[in-house]
């Protein structure tokens, strides 16, 4: 069974006079341990697909099965719980809660899961050490560089022990050095924890490092390159 099974997904936005077809009959599978990039030009539907995979948005038609469980049509409260337990998120920028320290940001997700104080502290320390920030536990986001903030975001995404991590253009605001470093770390996490990473990106540096590249154009599935 595929980790994620996307079946005939269509998404149409009707907020304007002319309906916008963001996704048109997309079918795709994602397996465990994948390190996949979803690519395509602006407006191709990358972020929409990622939002639907993450249960942040609902498709107009079609269905998404995660571990065999259909998440389309799930109630909002059930979806929130599902996201908390099964999906890790890394966003483009400003991922972190500015008033919390690095370790508190990582712990926060575990707090929502109801993990005990001692355990979440230990796990957060270990994860931040994994992403190379063992010495910046008590730094606030404003005291960290963009690359370091994204590392904390990855640690936070992994903290909930999700089935997969969705990263929406995680390197968009990073310089080359930070991008390389972040990708190195993500590949390491992919290998160490057998964690599935799915990126939306148009960054060539990310595409180069991806093990699988899915191309979208005008909301349509164009290419799937291993």
């Amino acid at each position: 069974m595929a980790l994620i099974d996307v079946r005939h997904i269509t998404k149409t936005y009707n907020s304007t006079a002319v309906p916008v077809h963001a996704l048109r009959d997309v079918n795709v599978h994602f397996e465990k341990k994948e390190f996949t990039a979803i690519v395509g030009p602006s407006g191709s539907g990358k972020t929409t697909l990622l939002n639907i995979l993450g249960g942040l948005d609902a498709p107009t038609s079609g269905e998404v099965l995660i571990g065999g469980q259909n998440i389309t049509g799930m109630k909002e409260s059930a979806l929130v719980e599902f996201r908390l337990r099964h999906i890790g998120f890394v966003f483009q920028a400003y991922n972190l809660i500015p008033v919390l320290t690095a370790i508190e940001n990582v712990e926060f997700i575990m707090l929502l899961q109801g993990v005990g104080k001692k355990e979440r502290h230990e796990r957060a320390r270990a994860l931040l050490a994994d992403v190379g920030l063992a010495d910046r536990l008590d730094s606030r986001p404003s005291q960290l560089s963009g690359g370091q903030q994204q590392r904390v975001a990855v640690a936070r995404a992994l903290a909930s022990r999700p089935r997969f991590v969705l990263a929406d253009e995680p390197t968009a605001n990073l310089d080359s050095e930070s991008t390389t470093s972040l990708l190195d770390m993500m590949e390491e996490m992919n290998a160490k924890y057998e964690m599935t990473f799915i990126f939306s990106t148009h960054d060539a540096r990310v595409i180069e490092r991806a093990h699988r590249v899915i191309t979208l154009e005008d909301g349509r599935f164009q290419e799937d390159k291993q």
Binding site: N51, V80, R83, F89, Y94, I109, L111, L112
Partner: protein, 405 residues
Amino acid sequence: MLFLLAWRNVWRNVKRSTIIIVSIALGLAGGLFAGAVMMGMGESMINSAIDRNLGHLQIHSPAYRRDALVSNYIRSPQKVLSLLDTLGSVKAYSARTLLEGMASSANSSYGVTITGVDPERERETTALVSMLVAGNFLADKYRTQAVIGKKLAERLGLKLKSKIILTFQDRSGEIVYMAARIVGLFKTESTAFDEMTVFVRQKDVTRLLGARKPLIHEIAIRLKNSSTLPATKARLASGFSDLKVEEWREIAPELAFMSTSVESFTYLFVAIIIFALIFGITNTMLMAVMERIHELGILMAVGMKRGRVFIMILMETLLLSFVGGMLGMLIGGAAIAWFNHFGIDLSAFAQGLEGFGSGTILYPYLPGVMYAALTVMIVVAANISALMPAWKAVRLKPAQAVRVY
């Protein structure tokens, strides 16, 4: 951690939070102080009236309360006085002869209540002696003496040692004249009392009324502690069912009304201030939510339930209001305590205040229960203030919110 997050969120914009906290604090402190001044004024009026002539309790014949005639006196006052002598809660009492009559000088006349008293008893029961502005209180030195209000003296064109003519009816309805020497002038907080009250020795009026023993119309009782009032009243009422035993609230209902209405006005006053503050707090929290749309979107995206987001915003509002509220109570409480000790000199407004029967030195005070009630009011107001911002926050769609920078 939710509390920690809320607390830190409150302080992420120090300037804005400080402004709203200071405005809550000053608004509340001002309201509390104004309320305490009103309460102090009400208390001053009551204490003044009790000190002046009311006492805590009074006993009359029921007929006298209906019709203030000389013939409606207490038939067996000695029994009452004997019981009063045995009651430990009673500090002092004064058995008075009350006569409705006229005070005249060569120039003018004025309707007055002539109060015949035992000077020593009256001295112990009321604080009238301390309110003398000229001369002395009644003594045995002269035959017929009178102590009158300064205001009445001015109205009649009299001064200390002047002769005043008092006219009243005896038991048979005959008009009796009494010429008395003014030995003292008093000035109380009540202009009306000063204008309409004349004190004379009881034995002088008893003689003129043609009675062998004093006719007692009123027994004013001063208690050692006002908390014993209900018990003492009940004891006297059960002992003398043929007499009317009343406490100051019943004798002067206008004062009792003042006392309760001042409290209600204080609540109303502070409620209006808090109501105005609700808009300020709501505005601040709305701004705080609007500038954190991206962050709130992320929180909801990663799995924070809407209920928790709601609680977080509610907690932030509560903290903001609580800090402001406590600070306001601290400032207000300190100001009230300071002025309660040293008093506020309002002698510049003496004329107006005396018209109300209030002293010119006000001692603001606020009962402890009011602080508790105000804390509840602040918490309720904070919750109301939080509703709209919190509602706004939980209505956000995470997929859209995370893309707002």
